[in-house]
Subunit: 334 residues, 2 copies
């Protein structure tokens, strides 16, 4: 037990600093591992890098009054740029996987992409449409992914990135706390985030989402493009607040798995986001000039299928959320 | 109370004969009303005519051993021809209503059919696609409906039809019961139908249907055309058995509304059938040669939307059915 912390709660500032140092160290570890990886192996360290960046950024945001504000805001902006740049490649790859998976479900077993069926059936039009839609989506998303990969590599070699890494290295050794920070308890800041989360969830149409097959997610799906996306926005917002809440809980010393509901709710909202983006990608592929009607038809089915999954994710979210609807869970104070 | 039936249960044969006479009389009444109606007013008597025809046909089937078999089989075949012929016009009209209603839900409020949006939006492609899809579906289903209308008029003027009407007129005055029929109780025949219904329901994938958003109805939706239809077949079969069961219950003297579950279950399966047929019509419109990709895309979304409603109808059916899952309801014996 040598070197164990002295008994008695550590002061608030030290709890926060310890969390930020740990995340900064994780960021630097993931960065080192990413540099030493081949392209194929780089996905996992890239994920770890983004996870650490999100945690640092979220913590700087939640506990902003305890930190050097100018320095924090500056670092947060740069971390957002970095996460965004690194996320894009992964997002295109995940979207492609999701859409190809859906096309496999929608057309008979066997490879779809880039291969027309060996035996033309009486209704070959639809099957060929699915194959062509798969090939089109693959071409477009692979191109987007390759571009995102180049952009990410460029970013990681840029002086802007080196400045971010330097700032995180500073954070790993010395957190720029305000002089009066140690006197403040952390719990009220975390509670603020939780209150904002609960408020945002309360504004969601959860009753409607709890009625299976309400057909809401496809409402106006053939209108202007903005229509379905605008109904998604509050859900995306809750997803971000939920993450911010989870990081705040971690920062004040709660176990990551202490609230199973948060994990289930987060997974449902990740699925919501993924399905919404896949649906948009299918609609966008359908606007490619000079595609065959059968291809466009398959993309329409695919779009609607993904919008159904958006609705399914909302149903899953409300089920998780309302299961423990009146917990009165108090945030523990470290 | 003069003319009230004597106390004590009437013999089985008389119960059956009374029911058949009543339905035959209703058939003749609806037929007379249909002949006196203008085209616009003819829909309601046509519905009543088909309802009576279905009840007569179902009763002849269920209680076949009590009736002159050859005569019954002959009349049933002719009633099936008549109902089928009369149903088609109504079915095309209902399908069109359903699809146009869905397109209204899928694209912004305002008329869709045959009118492009006044102000072309940035994403006008999709909106125009919805308008064109609506116009195409309307053209095709209106044509089909007009043809069905002519066929129905022709049928109603044919000597074949007059023979059916004559046979029903016979039924209205004298039901061709077998001589030994009056000794047989009716309940076992009705129980047979119920047993067949329960067996068919037990073979349905109700557990899966009870999981909302199981995405089953779109499974292989882009494969050969037969794929989704083949998964619908057992549900359509249950729909017919449920109807046969309801008519058998009526024939043995139970009130039509005595089992609320049957009504809800029947409505869910009607919706299942309507949505499945609308989905097929959308897919079939998408195979029209030389349509624009935006039109095909809208039809793909529409097809998936209707298949989604197929799934919703299955969910509704299992909810109604399982609500009173272990009733051990015995068929009352008249």
């Amino acid at each position: 037990m040598a070197g164990a912390p002295a008994a008695g709660a550590p002061v608030a500032g030290e709890v926060l600093a310890r969390y930020l140092r740990a995340q900064a160290t994780e960021f630097l570890r993931a960065l080192r591992q990413h540099r030493e990886s081949s392209t194929e192996e780089a996905a996992e360290p890239a994920l770890a890098l983004r996870a650490a960046a999100r945690r640092i950024s979220g913590t700087l945001h939640t506990f902003r009054p305890l930190l050097d504000a100018e320095w924090s805001d500056q670092l947060r902006a740069e971390l957002a740029w970095l996460s965004g740049t690194l996320a894009r490649e992964h997002a295109h790859a995940a979207r492609l996987d999701r859409l190809i998976g859906a096309l496999h479900r929608l057309s008979p077993a066997g490879p779809v992409v880039g291969r027309a069926p060996a035996v033309p059936t009486q209704n070959g039009g639809l099957t060929v449409g699915a194959a062509k839609a798969g090939a089109l989506v693959e071409r477009q998303l692979t191109l987007a992914r390759t571009r995102a990969h180049s952009t990410a590599l460029q970013a990681l070699g840029s002086s802007r990135f080196h400045a971010v890494a330097d700032a995180v290295a500073v954070l790993a050794s010395e957190v720029p706390l305000r002089r009066d920070a140690s006197g403040h308890p952390l719990a009220p800041f975390a509670a603020d985030v939780e209150a904002r989360l609960n408020e945002a969830v309360a504004a969601l149409p959860l009753v409607r989402a709890g009625h299976p097959y309400n057909a809401e997610a496809l409402l106006h799906g053939l209108g202007t493009d903005a229509a379905p996306e605008s109904q998604d926005t509050p859900w995306h917002q809750v997803r971000l607040l939920l993450r911010l809440h989870r990081y705040a809980q971690e920062a004040i010393g709660l176990e990551p798995g202490h609230d199973v509901r948060l994990i289930g709710a987060g997974q449902a909202l990740d699925r919501h986001r993924d399905a919404a983006e896949a649906a948009t990608a299918a609609a966008s592929a359908a606007r490619t000039p000079r595609i065959a009607p059968a291809t466009a038809y398959a993309l329409g089915v695919l779009h609607a299928d993904q919008r159904h999954d958006v609705e399914a994710a909302r149903f899953a979210f409300q089920a998780v959320w309302r299961r423990n609807a009146s917990p009165d869970r108090a945030v523990s104070t470290p």
